[in-house]
């Protein structure tokens, strides 16, 4: 295909420059000539009622040659194209006219282009990919402040119903809440929200009352799922409501309801539904129900999402050695791995579990994968239970897979507190029945001892 050359045909004109452009534009459209006449350039400072020069760009095989499509149209017969810029000089190059014309769009002198800024594209950050980090200390006023913001975040999430991970992150940012991945995880543990398996979407959970163990004769429940200010006010009209901040304030407070008897529940739900249109589900004793239906660890592993098509030689790998991720050459050994792009130095592309028996890469919550890695490396997983206080202590370094931990959290509606001993940092779960603790520990192959915590 012959190469097309661009040259300019120059004219002199007196009249309104804007109208001139419109007139020529219409003709080019009418005869479909844009392929041959792509641009019109005006002399800088062209004004109405003063003569000015303008140049039509022509694309043709040879400089100075008018394509037949153009000559056969009546474009060049327009009165505005009757006076050549320089007699007997039909052809200009861009270099020849550059100093006297602006870019094509300088029709309006006041044109002020809108600045273009590229938006930095970040590689997708999986909300399930966490890095274990011990908690920081916070003052009680910090706890109140953050707690309130987390409650606001959850009101906002409830008002939206569902959304994308991007929108979740932006909302956290707007409310000044750091570490949105951890916030999302805590909301899942508390039964407030659910995320899609790939982490790209979230939806708030139905409003429900979850029965928890009571130390008095009353029936106690915690509120899970969607809520707003109106709901809390309405509940306060009918029952005793306690608002308990999470230990570090980094999640919405626990809303605990006390009812004299179970019979009050249908009436309460009906009042709420009829007055503010929110349906409340009686979810029962979810912690125990969940513990019962959860599978044993190995079955849980089989149900993890497998990722296909990973070519290990294309990436660099770090393997979890029981304490930290250490650089390794992947040789098919079972374990938890960080997958790094060769060019990426800030953070791993993703964290996965490799099962050599099935030769599959599996994806799941970060702590769950770490627990699997510990289990497969035969590290003893331990816990301590105090039957007098109904508290269960789990080493922070052996945090359970998320759904199992959710069963513990829903026993009280509260996230674990932290306790440091000489050997370990412990996660302390409250209001845990012995039956619940035993059931979960059996399924996770955890050896338990009686404790005084």
């Amino acid at each position: 295909m012959p190469q097309v050359k661009r040259w300019y045909k120059g004219y002199k004109y007196r009249g309104n420059p804007r109208e001139l452009v419109e007139q020529i534009s219409k003709k080019i459209q009418e005869y479909n000539l844009s392929q041959y006449v792509p641009i019109l350039r005006l002399e800088k400072g062209a004004r109405s009622r003063r003569p000015f020069y303008f140049f039509l760009a022509i694309d043709s095989k040879e400089l100075g040659e008018i394509p037949s499509e153009v000559s056969e149209s009546n474009l060049l017969n327009l009165p505005s194209l009757s006076v050549p810029a320089v007699p007997r000089s039909p052809c200009f190059t861009y270099e020849q006219i550059k100093s006297m014309v602006g870019v094509a769009h300088d029709v309006h002198d006041y044109t002020n282009p809108i600045p273009y800024r590229t938006v930095q594209e970040f590689p997708y950050d999986n909300p399930f990919d966490l890095i274990a980090s011990p908690p920081t200390n916070q003052t009680s006023s910090d706890v109140d402040k953050i707690s309130q913001r987390c409650e606001q975040l959850f009101y906002w999430l409830s008002a939206l119903g569902n959304g994308t991970w991007e929108s979740f992150k932006k909302a956290c940012e707007a409310l000044g809440l750091e570490e949105p991945k951890r916030i999302l995880r805590r909301l899942r543990l508390l039964g407030h929200i659910e995320a899609s398996l790939d982490g790209s979407r979230w939806s708030t959970a139905p409003t429900a009352l979850v029965k928890v163990k009571s130390h008095t004769s009353s029936q106690e429940f915690v509120l899970c799922g969607q809520r707003n200010e109106n709901l809390l006010k309405k509940l306060e009209q009918y029952v005793t409501v306690k608002v308990i901040n999470q230990s570090r304030g980094n999640a919405p407070p626990c809303i605990r309801l006390e009812l004299a008897s179970l019979d009050e529940l249908p009436h309460l739900a009906e009042q709420v539904r009829s007055q503010i249109g929110i349906a409340i589900i009686n979810a029962g004793e979810v912690s125990l129900q969940l513990a019962q239906v959860l599978p044993e660890l190995m079955t849980w592993q089989q149900g993890l999402r497998s990722l296909q098509g990973i070519v290990p030689s294309l990436y660099e790998w770090k393997r979890f050695d029981g304490n930290v991720f250490a650089e390794t050459i992947f040789c098919g050994q079972t374990g938890m791995y960080q997958m790094w792009k060769r060019t990426e130095v800030d953070r791993p592309l993703r964290t996965l579990f490799y099962d050599s028996e099935t030769q599959t890469w599996q994806q799941g919550d970060w702590y769950g994968l770490r627990f699997l890695a510990l289990h497969h490396s035969n590290q003893p997983c331990i816990a301590q239970y105090n039957s007098a206080t109904a508290r269960l202590a789990v080493p922070y370094s052996q945090r359970w897979p998320e759904l199992y931990e959710r069963a513990l959290v829903l026993a009280s509606g509260q996230l674990p507190t932290y306790q440091k001993t000489e050997q370990n940092l412990w996660l302390i779960y409250g209001n845990v029945k012995q039956e619940l603790a035993q059931l979960l520990m059996e399924k996770l192959c955890i050896s338990c001892s009686e404790s005084s915590v």
């Binding site: 641009i39 769009h105 006041y110 809108i114 119903g161 790939d198 429900a208 929110i278 759904l403």
Partner: protein, 572 residues
């Protein structure tokens, strides 16, 4: 006979229902619109014609002793609708009836209006002596109402002289009766049958502009701000012509049926892990009517359309293939009988913009033309790259990186982070005129909000987390004004640099009007600030559930056996 109040409500509904927020609204009342609206009334029309019925209702309301009395039409009625819309519709109808040869003069306009109101004489009728006191307040009520409901008003005052007030109705009439008849003759001659959408048809009609009437030519070429609305109006005529079996001798005048197809846009979904991009059918609602339920047959499955937001149904769980993108597609609508097909138009390109109601969601779809300063994605056949490169070379359009191929073994590519950066596109000529029309900005100013904490369902921001404001435009500065609507208190009035975000302190929850003005052009946006207590609880449109083994699943604290179909809320 329908009452004035019934006509008033029906007109407001017709022009705003099924219309996406952010659309410029034209009160383009004409005979066909009145016939369509009338069919939904339970009563019989006066004289067998809904046009006559409408005229009678307006006359009964506003003519008192042969004088026009508009004093009772100011403000809102009990339903919250502006009371004067039906009267304003009558003024637009007067413009619609102006003949091809008729000059747009005050004298001619009032002659037509007097005909509609059955008033003898010439010139401004008694009771309407001063436009600023008589009809202009009604236009202002309509404008405020549109802004408050998330639409853009389009009615404009004239630039002085005799057309100052009559320009309001003139700016609303899109196609006159004579224009429609001319278009029908054109369709008949051309016998176009491709699966185009409105803007593509518009481009084809525009090629014929030199042979069309002066008024139609002006609509097709001169007034860029009205392109989209004119294209929709032309498409309605085209659909009517097609519904009549594309007759070789089009029937002029008389009753015309409405088109009965739904159109689909594209909804883009990107897999965050693999980066794979899929496009889904995204059906658009039909303007002016609520049809429910709608069932569409896609291959072997029937899909129910559910309303997602004004103007749009939820995207269908049906990925669009390369061949469907290439040549468009038509899917049968199983019910209601009034509707025929869901059409994915055949296009060479799609412009996918961030969700205007939730720009932070990371989702892109064909929600409309990008406003100034908005970055968007162009999905196009790679044969358009030469045209796009020309626009880029001339610094009219910019994008980031190289074209990204999408859909395996196809000619389709995506350009990311596209942005229009200049306004003067006139001197650039490209092969694909539809592409240029779609990208060329129609406004010189645009008000954009970013950040803050937005509540999409309420089109509002939360108190204490109001948005930043950016005026995008091609002038270095504009006049910016922010008014609290409850007491008309100006909370901000200053000269503001364009293209720079600023923080505005909205002092209390409430409704605010943001106005930017420069060189005779203005842009307005409505901002609603709500307090936390006004947040409601919204049932998720799609609910995430986590499987537990093979027999159960959990959503929050609710455990269900897998056999149960969904997580419905139930009584305790």
């Amino acid at each position: 006979m329908a009452s004035y109040a019934e006509w008033n409500r029906a007109l407001v509904t017709y022009f705003t229902i099924g219309v996406p927020r952010g659309t410029k609204i034209y009160l383009s009342v004409d005979d066909e619109v009145l016939e369509r609206i009338g069919r939904d009334f339970l009563s019989s029309p006066v004289g067998g014609s809904w046009r006559e019925d409408f005229r009678a209702a307006v006359r009964e309301k506003v003519i008192i002793e042969e004088q026009v009395n508009l004093t009772n039409l100011q403000g809102l009625n009990f339903d919250g609708f502006p009371k004067g819309v039906a009267f304003l519709g009558a003024t637009v109808l007067a413009t619609y009836q102006m003949a091809e040869t008729e000059q747009t003069s005050e004298q001619n306009y009032f002659r037509r209006l007097r005909d509609i109101l059955d008033l003898p004489g010439t010139g401004r009728p008694l009771g309407m002596r001063q436009g600023s006191i008589a009809e202009e307040p009604l236009w202002q009520d309509w404008k405020r109402w549109l802004i408050a409901h998330g639409f853009f008003p389009s009615a404009q005052r004239g630039r002085g002289g005799s057309t100052t007030y009559i320009n309001y109705p003139i700016s609303q009439a899109l196609l006159r009766r004579a224009d429609k008849d001319q278009l029908l003759r054109l369709f008949d001659e051309k016998q176009w049958s491709a699966q185009w959408d409105a803007m593509t048809l518009f481009a084809y009609v525009r090629r014929e502009a030199p042979r069309l009437s002066l008024h139609l030519k002006q609509l097709l070429i001169d007034d860029r701000q009205r392109y989209e609305a004119v294209a929709e109006a032309i498409y309605e005529v085209y659909e009517q012509w097609q519904d009549k079996g594309s007759p070789s001798v089009p029937r002029l005048g008389g009753e015309r049926n409405r088109g009965c197809n739904l159109f689909s846009g594209l909804y883009r979904d990107e897999d965050p892990f693999s980066g794979q991009i899929d496009y889904y059918l995204y059906p658009k609602q039909l303007r002016g009517c609520q049809l429910d339920p709608i069932k569409v047959q896609l291959k072997d499955k029937v899909h129910h359309l559910r309303s997602e937001r004004p103007g749009w149904y939820f995207p269908l769980d049906f990925t669009v293939s390369c061949s469907q993108l290439d040549s468009g597609a038509r899917y049968q609508i199983a019910s209601p009988d009034d509707l025929d097909s869901l059409i994915l138009p055949s296009r060479d390109f799609w412009i996918l913009i961030p969700d205007p109601e939730n720009p932070d969601s990371g989702v892109y779809a064909s929600w409309g033309q990008p406003t100034l300063g908005t970055q968007f994605i162009i999905l196009c056949n790679n044969k358009l790259l030469a045209d796009l490169q020309r626009l880029r070379d001339e610094r009219l359009l910019e994008w980031n990186g190289e074209p990204i191929p999408v859909l395996e073994r196809s000619d389709w590519v995506e350009l990311w982070q596209c942005q229009v950066i200049s306004q003067a596109w006139e001197g650039i000529f490209v092969e694909n005129q539809v592409l240029k029309d779609a990208l060329q900005p129609t406004m010189r100013l645009s008000i954009s909000f970013s950040g803050g904490l937005r509540v999409p369902q309420m089109s509002a921001w939360l108190e204490g987390h109001s948005p930043q404001l950016t005026i995008f435009g091609f002038s270095p500065t504009v006049k910016l004004q922010v008014t609290r609507l409850s007491d008309n208190h100006k909370i901000l009035e200053k000269s503001q640099s364009t293209n720079t975000p600023i923080a505005v302190n909205f002092p209390t929850a409430g409704d605010y009007l943001v106005e930017a003005t420069c060189a005779g052009e203005s842009s307005e946006r409505f901002v609603r600030i709500v307090d936390w207590s006004s947040l409601s609880v919204q049932e998720p449109s799609s609910c995430e559930v986590i499987p537990i083994g093979y027999e159960h699943r959990i959503c929050g604290s609710i455990i269900e056996p897998v056999s149960e179909p969904n997580l419905n809320k139930a009584d305790a």
